[in-house]
């Protein structure tokens, strides 16, 4: 897994040093993973950082993207195109054969579904890079405010990949669909004067733990993840809402069109249409409730806080609170948007309620966990 870890800008473990020229992100990630790591002893914090940083010289600041607008265009939804073509084919067959039945029964669903898919696709996002920082979606982020760059583990080995710009209040995603090369953009961002990580204030119950860990390992090896300012909505809710609306349109069409177009007042399709309409209204109500009641994976998620250190972690999440040593952890896995820590007789599930991506937090935890197991 560590083969794919690649990051820059953060100031821990000395891997913040820039990628050497001629090394791809994947190769550089491999270099990082291959580097022997040990937990520093008390009294010698930061020893690793000095050695690792000295081995690499930083690149000069790149200017390639200054004043340029990078566009992540809305994706073409091929399923929508195919469905629309199918609807057109049925329509054509109807016109050729002078038979309106295909128009009434076969066109509504693919046509409505194509429209739903088209409407629910992600829109175009524009990023403007200046000498000072990045502007996107009404947000201006100075380079000094970017505390790190993060490329997810599942980034493709070839082609473009998503890059997360980690900042104090959260993270900004530059999707893989951008027109220029993600690699070039990554190198450009990596060469900018990015900010240094500062530990955010922590909950009072963590004060002693944090103080102790800072004395043991130094500030650079401690990672504090406070709660996100807001949680994203349910995944695919937009798609499902559009799908249900398409189903509703289909149901109404099947109910009304037979009598309007064919003059058939006792069509079986009308019965099917009524059933489909009722089902669609039911699911539409569920979608509406899901939209208006925000996603809450844990109680009091706003209180959540996670501290990751070379010797273990401390966590507040919902009604779980306490500290855990890496020796107690039997397995550490990432599954379905969560991180699972298996301990004897139980498992601790970390939800995506923190300010930075859970994949990034997982990488941090895995590094220390594997080091502690060696």
């Amino acid at each position: 897994m560590t083969d794919d870890i690649f990051e820059a800008g953060s100031s821990d473990e000395g891997i913040q040093a820039h990628r050497p020229q001629g090394r791809s992100p994947a190769q550089h990630a491999h270099d990082i993973a291959a580097k022997p790591m040990s937990i520093p002893v008390a009294g010698a914090p930061g020893e690793l950082e000095g050695k690792a940083s000295a081995a690499q010289t930083p690149l000069p600041r790149l200017t390639t993207f200054f004043g340029k607008e990078v566009i992540a265009p809305a994706r073409i939804t091929w399923a929508a195109v195919w469905l629309l073509l199918t609807a057109c084919a049925f329509l054509g067959i109807g016109f050729i054969s002078q038979d309106f039945r295909p128009f009434v029964f076969l066109v509504p669903f693919p046509a409505a579904m194509a429209l739903a898919l088209w409407v629910s696709r992600s829109g175009t996002v524009r990023f403007l890079f200046t000498e000072e920082g990045v502007q996107a979606a009404g947000l201006t982020l100075r380079y000094s405010e970017i505390l790190g760059l993060y490329v997810p583990d599942d980034a493709p080995k070839r082609g473009n990949f998503a890059v997360h710009l980690l900042h104090d209040a959260g993270h900004l995603l530059i999707p893989e669909s951008i027109t220029p090369s993600s690699l070039e953009l990554f190198d450009f961002l990596d060469s900018q004067p990015l900010g240094q990580k500062i530990l955010p204030p922590v909950h009072s119950v963590f004060q002693n733990f944090l103080r102790q860990q800072m004395l043991l390992y130094g500030e650079k090896k401690i990672h504090v993840y406070s709660a996100a300012s807001s949680l994203p909505g349910y995944r695919y809710l937009r798609f499902w809402t559009c799908f249900v609306i398409a189903l509703l349109v289909t149901g109404i069409s099947w109910t009304v069109l037979p009598s309007l177009v064919l003059g058939d007042r006792q069509s079986e399709w009308a019965v099917v249409g009524i059933v489909v309409t009722i089902v669609a209204i039911f699911f539409l109500a569920i979608c509406a409730v899901a939209r208006w009641s925000p996603r809450r994976p844990v109680k009091n998620w706003q209180r959540s806080c996670l501290i990751v250190t070379p010797s273990g972690l401390a966590l507040i999440q919902g009604d779980l609170q306490g500290e855990l040593r890496w020796e107690e952890v039997r397995d550490l896995i990432q599954r379905k948007g969560t991180v699972i820590l298996k301990v004897e007789g139980a498992q601790i599930v970390l939800h995506d309620v923190f300010r930075w991506p859970l994949g990034y937090i997982f990488q941090r935890m895995q590094k220390y966990y594997l080091a502690a197991r060696r």
Binding site: F209, L215, L320, G322, V343, G345, A346
Partner: protein
């Protein structure tokens, strides 16, 4: 402030133990749920059959006293088991290991006896029953680890044994 001073400050509680406690809480909710539900069903059944027996007597039907006694025993045992689940729910954090093991054995035993008495009911609610057994099995695992950690904490805080 030195490392020794910080080490002497109160520590955070164990997160692993909190997670095990959560598993035991899940077991508690399951025990309460199963106990209350089966108690309601069994009491309902008892009163339903009691009224059926009364009606039959009024009609002058001949009833088998052994069958009636058997029915009352079965309902009585079922009610006792239901009450036991509720009591186990209260005691699961105090005596985690014995309570979770007895509850699991009792639940599986009750299920098997039910199948033996009436094989036609074997498939009824099988998915829910399997889910409950899995959850209770996990609770037994959590209980063992919870108990071990409690014992370790007690040993850590116990005063040294005086030497002769």
């Amino acid at each position: 402030m030195g490392l020794d001073d910080v080490n002497n400050e109160p520590k955070l509680k164990s997160l692993a133990q909190a997670a095990r406690g959560k598993e035991l809480n899940t077991a508690r909710y399951i025990l309460f749920g199963v106990g209350i539900l089966s108690l309601v069903v069994n009491i309902g059944l008892f009163f339903f059959f009691q009224s059926q027996i009364e009606d039959a007597r009024k009609r002058g039907d001949v009833l088998d006293p052994q069958a009636i006694a058997m029915f009352k025993i079965i309902v009585g045992v079922s009610v006792a088991i239901s009450v036991s689940y509720i009591i186990f729910g209260f005691l699961v954090k105090t005596f985690p290991v014995p309570v979770t093991i007895i509850a699991l054995v009792l639940y599986v035993g009750d299920w098997l006896v039910g199948i033996a008495l009436n094989p036609a009911t074997a498939h009824q609610g099988i998915i829910i029953k399997i889910a409950i057994v899995i959850a209770m099995f996990k609770a037994v695992q959590a209980a063992f680890a919870y108990q071990k950690e409690l014992q370790r904490e007690r040993d850590d805080f116990a005063p040294d044994t005086p030497h002769d």
